[in-house]
């Protein structure tokens, strides 16, 4: 319980800092919109094609914009030895990690929603029919991205090539999550009836999130070492 309280404390701090400057949010949001514009030139999809590729498009946008967010999550603690202070504090490594992941999660979710709205406008897609289910899928997928982003952001915080390395390391690890999220998003955007395999995808999302969150908490003391 204390871990959760501490995690929320860290998350609130990060979000407060971010809301004051809005540097990551603005950059990631702008990037997401630019990618959507580029996609419309690259694929120029008609309504049928949008139903087919829309899910994939959206999640690629989330991934690329997300890289900008989780790149900053631990790096912003480097100036003035803030990271050392956090590690020396009574906060457990697990709560620090989950707190950072939660802050990433909230920011990414905001970007997701903005991207969804812009996507709906650019490609004439009605996403309001299953908006709550879509929200759940977004939340589960985004949590997976956030927790892995936090773990590897922490591990690579003082590497000189961090911005290059982080996407290269994280994206292959995220492939199962992406497949599941894309399939579910495609289903929810196309308004078709759910098939049994779609429940498999939902299970996959949950399993991925649970397994990697558990792994992150188990290895938290290794990942965040003073």
């Amino acid at each position: 319980m204390r871990t959760v309280k501490h995690a929320l404390l860290i998350a609130r701090k990060d979000l407060a800092v971010e809301l004051r400057t809005k540097e990551s949010l603005n950059a990631a949001g702008a990037f997401a919109i630019v990618i959507l514009v580029l996609f419309s030139f690259a694929f120029d999809p008609g309504p049928e094609e949008v139903r087919e590729i829309g899910g994939g498009l959206l999640w690629l946008v989330f991934l690329f914009a997300g890289a900008l967010v989780f790149n900053r999550s631990f790096a912003r603690e480097l100036p003035n030895d803030c990271l050392d202070t956090l590690l020396a504090s009574p906060l457990s490594a697990g709560s620090l990690l989950v707190g950072k992941a939660f802050a990433n999660f909230v920011m990414l979710l905001a970007i997701d929603l903005v991207s969804l709205v812009v996507f709906g406008i650019f490609f004439n897609v009605n996403w309001t029919r299953h908006v709550w289910e879509l929200g759940v899928v977004f939340a589960l997928g985004t949590w997976g991205i956030s927790i892995l982003g936090a773990v590897f952001g922490a591990l690579t915080v003082d590497l000189r090539l961090r911005e290059l390395m982080l996407p290269v390391i994280i994206y292959p690890l995220l492939i199962p999550l992406l497949i599941a999220a894309i399939e579910l998003t495609k289903l929810l955007l196309s308004n078709g009836p759910p098939s049994p395999s779609d429940f498999l995808w939902a299970k996959m999302l949950i399993v991925f999130d649970v397994v990697f969150t558990a792994l992150a908490l188990a290895l938290a003391d290794t990942i965040l070492v003073n």
């Binding site: 773990v151 690579t156 390391i169 497949i179 399939e183 996959m204 991925f208």
Partner: protein, 229 residues
């Protein structure tokens, strides 16, 4: 001592390979359905198996490092992953060439191929990351964490792509076309070749581990020189 073992293993592997190659080309007939090209299987499949096994052996070494903090385990993990990566690449390349003849395509996104590719990507990232970190303790810590996450992910990747691809059926994919039963003479050579490749891999791992230890020795001597000067 380690060098002698490595040399010994290489010699045995070379002898086995020579024997197998002779058997493959001079004794075994062409396969009924596939023609001559089935012989690639004798390298393709063992390379894949050695690669896969290697990643999980590296997982064990990574966990051992995290519990014991002995750098030898970190060196072993990195060496095993590097050698496994080489064999995984051989797996992909030979498989692609085989597929071009048998299926008419260079590549397809089925479960096995895609998860093999994802493996290569994950562990290539592992090696790249090791090169980006200079400090040995940080490098070992990072590598162990990435190896653990990577191996857990490989299992999930395989299952998920299996599901994904069975929804979108592709060409019937089993390189053991013929239903999975190999002629006993071929099976013999297959397992002998697997042994040869395994021994070769172990020899390479021993050499590579030795190099990692040397690199650490150089690093510590340098620090000593800097401190004393």
């Amino acid at each position: 001592m380690r060098e002698k073992i490595a040399i010994g293993l290489s010699v045995v592997a070379a002898a086995l390979l020579a024997y197998n190659l002779y058997q493959m080309f001079m004794v075994l007939p062409d396969e009924a359905l596939q023609g001559a090209i089935y012989r690639i299987l004798f390298f393709h499949a063992p390379a894949a198996m050695v690669g896969m096994v290697g990643y999980f052996v590296a997982l064990a070494f990574s966990v051992l490092y995290l519990t014991g903090k002995n750098f030898l385990y970190d060196s072993l993990a990195a060496s095993v992953i590097e050698v496994s990566l080489v064999f995984s690449i051989i797996n992909l390349v030979t498989g692609s060439l085989w597929g071009r003849i048998i299926w008419g395509i260079w590549w397809t996104w089925d479960a096995r191929l895609t998860s093999a590719l994802v493996c290569v990507l994950i562990f290539f990232g592992y090696l790249m990351m090791r090169r980006a970190v200079d400090e040995p303790t940080q490098r070992a810590r990072l590598s162990s964490a990435l190896c653990i996450f990577g191996c857990v992910d490989v299992v999930i990747v395989y299952k998920s792509i299996d599901w994904f691809r069975t929804q979108h059926p592709g060409p019937v994919l089993d390189f053991r076309t013929g239903g999975g039963k190999m002629d006993p003479a071929m099976a013999n050579i297959f397992w002998l070749n697997f042994l040869a490749i395994l021994l070769m891999a172990i020899a390479l791992v021993l050499v590579r581990t030795r190099q990692e230890s040397t690199a650490r020795e150089i690093d510590s001597l340098r620090r000593l020189a800097h401190a004393a000067a």
